[in-house]
Symmetry: D2
Subunit: 380 residues, 4 copies
């Protein structure tokens, strides 16, 4: 089935571009045309790098909103001459201002949005109308419930279209929604914190073993790239280095995603983000009370069963906990746990790279599902 599906995907996209040829040349030509809008930010740049190396995509069209002036990322040196072996394109040169005609001209089929949520909310309706498929890395389309969306303060030009798209959008957490992502036109890529919390809790909640009413707490810590590339007093090196702080307590935007995906009410979960003095990586320490006493083996099996066959979740042996360094620069979400002697108090530790499994890597994983490719393609 996999082969058939993959072939179908290839054919479909070869057709999408128009070709019927079957020579290797054609297969080369058959690569997916993508664009990254917002390629100047941390997630957008990371995504561009992944797409450049992806075996089934052409070099992505890199776009910026008009307002973005810092076109080059810190890791994109202004190289010249004969030494650049980076591959498909020199990253810096290619970031163009966004326009629909640019997308058309390049024959873009899949559009990645690494833009602020307000911009995504504005641009997606037309993009969908123009027949593009979309993976949106912003929070614009993640939430089904109005109560959770309120915090974003969306102002939709056409509320009805927005409502319809909100309904159609698929929350792009592949480990949970692998059945709905392949056919989705609009994939809402999850928030980085949300990914770390949902993946840690989904197996336990799905098994019905958590005493939700006693309260679940996620004490989460993120590196600074999660706060975006905008220079602010808060992201100044001197403010962050040798420091650590909590923020958005009882009010972080990712809370709604977590509640919706885990079907919890707002009294059942406390989610507290903190800022770590490191560039990237998230660790969530999650406190859960079980309904009945369990053994470590039973808890471990719960995780293993849930993530059977899932490539991008690693389960650690009982009492062995992941650290941020283990998953940074990979697309893995690492999960480990400790169970108290009473068998009822459980601590789950969840780690991931906020720019990969928490953003760009997950976006590629979603693309892989959308086009019938292996989930790990381009992410090793």
């Amino acid at each position: 089935m996999m082969d058939k599906y993959a072939s179908a995907g290839k054919v479909a996209y070869a057709m999408g571009r128009g070709g019927t040829e079957n020579s290797a040349e054609c297969l080369m030509a058959a690569k997916l045309k993508t664009a990254v809008l917002g390629a100047t930010g941390y997630s957008g740049l990371e995504l561009a790098r992944l797409l450049v190396r992806h075996p089934h995509t052409d070099a992505p069209l890199l776009l910026r909103r008009g307002a973005d002036t810092n076109e080059a990322a810190p890791q994109s040196p202004p190289t010249s001459g004969n030494g650049n072996g980076n591959g498909k394109f020199p990253v810096k040169a290619s970031i163009q201002p966004f326009s629909w005609s640019a997308l058309e001209q390049h024959g873009v089929e899949l559009l990645f949005l690494a833009t602020p949520h307000a911009f995504s909310r504005e641009v997606v309706p037309e993009a969908i109308a123009r027949g593009l498929r979309i993976v949106d890395l912003s929070g614009a389309w993640r939430l089904k419930q109005e109560q959770h969306r309120a915090i974003y303060g969306f102002k939709d030009a056409s509320p009805q279209t927005a409502a319809e798209l909100t309904e159609r959008a698929v929350y792009g957490l592949p480990e949970l929604n692998a059945d709905r992502i392949p056919s989705a036109a609009l994939v809402a890529n999850p928030g980085c914190f949300a990914t770390s919390v949902i993946l840690a809790l989904a197996p336990l909640l799905s098994a019905g073993i958590v005493d939700c009413d006693r309260g679940i707490i996620s004490d989460s810590k993120s590196g600074v790239s999660g706060a975006g590339k905008e220079p602010t007093a808060r992201t100044h090196f001197v403010s962050v280095a040798d420091n650590f702080s909590a923020y958005s307590v009882f009010g972080h935007r990712h809370t709604g995603e977590i509640l919706e995906q885990l079907r919890l009410n707002s009294c059942q979960l406390i989610f507290t983000p903190h800022l770590l003095p490191i560039p990237r990586g998230i660790l969530s320490t999650i406190y859960v009370y079980l309904k009945e006493a369990m053994t470590a083996d039973e808890v471990q099996n719960c995780f293993h069963d849930f993530y059977k066959g899932k490539k991008w979740v690693r389960i650690f042996p009982a009492s062995s906990l992941p650290e941020i360094q283990f998953s940074v620069h990979t697309n893995y979400c690492d999960l480990g746990f400790c169970l108290a002697h009473d068998g009822r108090r459980l601590i789950v530790v969840s780690c991931l790279d906020n720019l990969l499994k928490g953003a760009a890597g997950q976006a590629v994983q979603n693309m892989n599902l959308m086009y019938g490719w292996d989930e790990a393609e381009g992410l090793q």
Copy 2:
């Protein structure tokens, strides 16, 4: 003996501070003679620095256990010549091997122990017998209950003496035990994590407003100096930088102190330490469920009332949280909180410098109480 000794000390220093003698020489002579055993570690060195500048103490006698070979701390440059304006002594030169005769020769009255707990447990009985007063920065004498002491695995030469001293030892948290510290012969200086958690919770528990059975969680994070100066794979720069991890989950030694001081049972508290990639500082994020809904003002008053007149605890306005940078290099414990809309879920954030309020600064604060001086003396 303890009381007599303490009284004598008080008198001598009362004379030094406010007595009738008027020659400068006399005032000089009246300064307290102290020693720091274990002056090669982070806490011991920090303590030495504080004592050098303390107006009521002579330059401390600095001692090391025989095994300590790294006599100089990284911050003690091997200076020479005319430029050293550091004050009473050049730190590096003066660290001598420990002996009872050295203590006698220098007329030491107050002995600070910044040594491993096993060593403290061994040396204290004789020190007390010799009439010394002691502030012990290790965990050797902090715990009254055998169940909490077990984790340390003490092997006492004279179990009876050890039991008596355990009983007499005063837990040196000045904000809680200011009445018992002045007359104590043996002060057990609290653990750094324990200080941050106890000071955050004591006002709430004392007011009886916490639903303890629902569970209290302290998710605590510490800088690396808290792990000691011993070079290990875990404290290697490459292991710590760009990383973050939990450790000693459900099994950290400071848990017992917190439970005893707050009169909680082991099912009512989860304490989870984490390692931050910073040299110093602790932040504890503490989750509490209140028995009944309260207002932020009521919670704030609870803290203010409890710490009225206490110089080294700072209460932040509601919803304004301390960060590690605020209290590092000071003796303050900073406390802030956020209350959920339901008025029942409360997050307290507690910050301090693990080497000052969490160790050496608190030791000086205890000394100030023991000798009747202002609690802030030498700590500004």
Copy 3:
């Protein structure tokens, strides 16, 4: 006028310190009235902290230029209530907009400027005319030679007044200009890099042992606070952490100061600044060729002789080099050196805290000289 003013100041403060009055009230009244304009930046805040604790000054009047909106520094927690033992004032509350009437109203005698150089250049003429003494931490008045000033692009309202003040301004490096600072009305506090380089080279150049024409190189590295508090792409945590880079190569503003103070021409010195991923501290590695072979003892004596009696320069033994940690949070400039086997190639390493000896500490040192106090007052 300058001399008279200075004398008056000296007398007043001599009385305050050792005069014939004996009431405590009088002693209090005699303290120097100061103001810090630009108290929102890193140097200004550090200066405010030093002045608060200085025994001979009142709490400084803290001022900001109209444009400054971030009034509170990261280390100034928004405390309230009874816990604040910080001393003379709560730092945050007291930063007011600048006005001449505010200065008059508070009877300010000494004005510290921690403002951008253009602003200092504008405000100093009137301040001097109003009889204020000034310590300016900016680069506005450090340079005598037009060729070195050009890089700043000063636009003076009254070029003649500016020229006169430029002439009268004393370069406030106490170890070199201790004879002229006491009577100065306008002290130009040196740049942080310049201080580290000049103090390292002055003894060698003064002794005439350096082959200047062979070229002197200072490869200097600074922590990020040296780049100021303004959030920029360059000071974003993610740009700085795990990174290191050179900047302003062959074109840094401090070069002129170094050349003027050391009487070198621009071909004799290369000064290359680099940005370190640390909050504070400077280390300069300085390469010098000696005219004739020397012994390490001779070089060491050269340093010792030059800095005899100077409290804030520490000379390390030969082949023992300072590190940034040794001097950070102190007012010391640490100097060490290594001499090659040939006795002619010499490397001098110079370390200091860019916010203390490189800015605010040196400003206080200058104030101490201006008012006849001990050079170390308020800096221990």
Copy 4:
């Protein structure tokens, strides 16, 4: 023997890559068998990771010396279960004690040594006698001149064999020795600092434009992984963080390599290493006086001409300098320069990742040359 062996290897792999066999099984079987001895250190582990992903090698046999007890690297989480998508092997499990029989049993053809130099010096003679090809990452075989080797204090069992091997060993800097590496039996992989300095200077010295007698200075800075994985007081997080220091001044082991490869005498070069508070990366700031004034274009052409067709050196445009972040996690050596207005004083900045282009990446690059593969294979 060396040539024959090399040719045989080339043929075998040419067949594997482009030969006449057409079954996938055969292609698999043709992969090169390698071993990494010292796979517990930073370089060894990095090398293991590269080899696992290399298209022309089998999973390497990972070996440790008997003394190595810390078998797992910090980045090797103790994963289990179904989530591990890392590829060819679980890194942790496979590190075995070294023995000749293990090498034989696995049919190892190419042996990588990531061991201390004394061990390499001891083991290489037998390895060569057994017909193995070797890439040695230690300093054991880099130096031809006795005067430079002295600092290592080698004690050779058979001085004659050692002398012969020293003569036959090829210094494995592919950009300089691409003609000799393909046929080498013993490749001495360059030091990390040496690579950064030699690649920066070789084009200029080769062009004969440098005034060597005026003195060349390389002020070099390295991240902490360059100091090795052994926990020491010097690599303790608290010693390194917020710090910066010079070390091994006028006496670092890499000096000899640089002098030999660049044919300089010891009076013509000063090389000063410093320790940066970052995990990985090297930046060398190199000061050169040109014999005659040149234009920036001429200098740039000098670099471009020298590195024409070289994939792993990137030349920056004039006055645009590399930063450590640009090359970390890549195999690039980045080179940039600034020329003073006089056209004679030149600063070259050279950056690379000490574990990749400075160690493991370069080792793979050497292997690629040794077996006739594309120089970039397995390094993208």
